[in-house]
């Protein structure tokens, strides 16, 4: 059973570098979830989560021995509410970094498509951590991510936000909470093309996409298609690689293993 603990910490010195260093050191501890300044007798409140209540004393000792700690008191303990959605996201390779987010909003400020999203990337992370599975997985946010990685490159805590968006796309589909609309339909046509030929045949993929979604919408981009065709930039026939069977064998084996989502 996970337990949440709140420690009150009084520092030897307040303000300046000593203060900053102490906060950094605390934040670097894997159990620590948040460090916030407080006014009054103590300087900081430290929120930590541990696997078992017995580990609270160990953690308290670990903090107390630091030379910048003047006084430490355990304010309260409470069982951490179970959050299966957060656990699920964390169990997927790359998903664990969601715990490092400090909600600074750099990702939302960097995202070129944030104005098209139901929830900004920062909000998505907050919602996942609050366990709001339905709200997250029915939103459109991940489907308008263009994988430009600006958020990932700029994140001060190294959260892989683009990866998280792709993870949420897979979860939304596997939980059956939405079909992902046109973006997911294109992705399916793309993947089918690989499974069939080993490579992507752009013309075939686009025809399949428009047939499955809205054939009339194809008229809108028909002029583009014709221009590409007349400039020799669209091959009519798909090219099948010799290793298509190898690709199929691997996909079959991956499906038998159940896959990491």
């Amino acid at each position: 059973m996970k337990t949440k603990a709140y420690f009150m910490v009084k520092l030897e010195t307040t303000g300046g570098d000593g203060h900053t260093d102490a906060v950094r050191e605390l934040e670097a501890m894997p159990e620590v979830e948040a460090v916030e300044p407080v006014s009054g007798e103590y300087d900081l409140v430290v929120v930590a989560a541990v696997d078992a209540p017995i580990k609270i004393a160990l953690l308290a000792k670990k903090i107390k021995v630091k030379d910048w700690v003047k006084n430490l008191q355990v304010l309260k303990l409470e069982p951490a509410a179970p959050n299966p959605f957060l656990d699920e996201v964390c169990s997927i390779p790359g998903g664990e970094c969601i715990n490092w987010c400090v909600q600074c909003g750099m990702c939302s400020a960097s995202c070129p498509n944030v104005n098209k999203m139901d929830y900004s990337p920062r909000k998505i992370i907050a919602l996942v951590r609050a366990g709001k599975r339905y709200d997250v997985l029915t939103s459109n946010s991940m489907w308008v991510c263009a994988s430009c990685y600006l958020c990932t490159a700029r994140c001060p805590k190294d959260v892989k936000i683009t990866e998280l968006m792709h993870t949420l796309e897979r979860l939304a589909l596997s939980h059956g909470l939405q079909n992902g609309g046109a973006t997911a339909a294109l992705y399916r046509a793309f993947v089918d093309s690989i499974k069939c030929n080993g490579r992507v045949h752009e013309l075939g993929m686009m025809m399949k996409f428009f047939l499955k979604t809205n054939p009339l919408a194809a008229l809108k981009i028909l002029p583009v298609g014709l221009k590409l065709l007349s400039h020799g930039r669209m091959s009519i026939k798909p090219k099948k690689i010799k290793g298509t069977e190898q690709v199929k064998t691997m996909v079959k084996r991956a499906q038998a293993l159940g896959g990491t989502k």
Partner: protein
């Protein structure tokens, strides 16, 4: 002579960016590069596969890595998406042992094995670092003096991993352009997104982004944009008309691959550089530079 295993990627081999593949072949021998195409390569999976199934997508990319490992050479691709996707698969395999054992299992079912020793590189990076600007400059017979260019890096050359260039303000393509004798224009959106594959399912969203790019490049006084990514080229070139119609603008900016630009400066015949495949014709802008010139040997 430098040798590499070559991974053209679907679009540059015979798709929408076929001009990228052709111009790559055209400049490589002039630069002392020998590209040996990876035999029977498959699509890297790109973003769509990664958004559909994690294990399958890493397996698909791992097949290419396994094939490339046998050659013992660095794997070079001109496509930014292939570059990011293959690198991502490689780093996922190194970081997550559980995922690796499952992928190994799938590879073994197909009679393959990947030990993890392949270095995946972008063609631009290989040319920039291994050949070097000094060498390229020494081969220039047709300096592109006075040509005003907006350097367009796109997303996936400099991100997500901090690699060979500054992810916040990349400079390498700027330097290449200068070394070919051309002029740089201010282009603050040089590492911004063109919409990528969302151009098909979310056309309006992508047109907004392309419009911003064109506005930024044109207001800096660019005569053309130079890019390192096949998808960026296709989106900004083939959809420029649509942007003009939607935003009532009159942009007419040719989008060149960096390989085409190098080729021009080295005096390689425009026909070999597949300049005729550009939808926004670059003929007018490049007229002063397309006279036949013999490349230095």
């Amino acid at each position: 002579m430098k040798y590499y295993t070559y991974f053209p990627g679907c679009s540059s081999s015979e798709g929408t960016a076929v001009a990228y593949g052709l111009s790559t072949q055209a400049i490589c021998s002039a630069l002392g590069i020998e590209l040996i195409e990876l035999e029977d390569w498959n699509c890297c999976g790109s973003t769509p596969y990664g958004s559909t199934d994690e294990l399958e997508s890493v397996c698909i990319a791992a097949r290419d890595l396994a094939l490339a490992e046998k050659t013992g050479l660095d794997l070079v691709t001109p496509c930014s998406s292939c570059y990011t996707t293959l690198n991502r698969a490689d780093s996922q395999l190194r970081q997550y042992p559980d995922l690796k054992s499952e992928v190994d299992d799938c590879l073994a079912a197909a009679g393959l094995e990947y030990k993890g020793s392949v270095r995946v590189r972008h063609l631009f990076e290989a040319i920039y670092n291994d050949i070097g600007l000094e060498y390229i400059e020494s081969k220039v017979v047709n300096p592109l003096t006075g040509l005003r260019i907006a350097p367009y890096y796109g997303c996936q050359l400099v991100r997500p991993e901090p690699g060979f260039d500054n992810p916040n303000n990349p400079q390498s393509l700027d330097r290449l352009i200068v070394s070919l004798g051309a002029e740089l224009v201010p282009f603050p959106l040089k590492d911004r997104c063109c919409g990528g594959s969302l151009i098909i399912p979310a056309l309006d969203l992508a047109l907004d982004l392309i419009h911003q790019l064109l506005e930024s490049a044109a207001s800096g006084g660019a005569q053309c944009i130079v890019t390192v990514c096949p998808l960026c080229q296709t989106n900004v070139d083939a959809y420029q008309d649509m942007v003009n119609r939607k935003f009532k603008t009159k942009y007419n900016l040719p989008i060149l691959f960096f390989t085409q630009l190098i080729g021009l400066a080295l005096g390689i015949e425009p026909r070999l550089l597949a300049l005729d495949k550009n939808i926004i014709s670059a003929e007018r802008v490049l007229a002063p530079f397309t006279m036949a010139a013999e490349p230095k040997t």
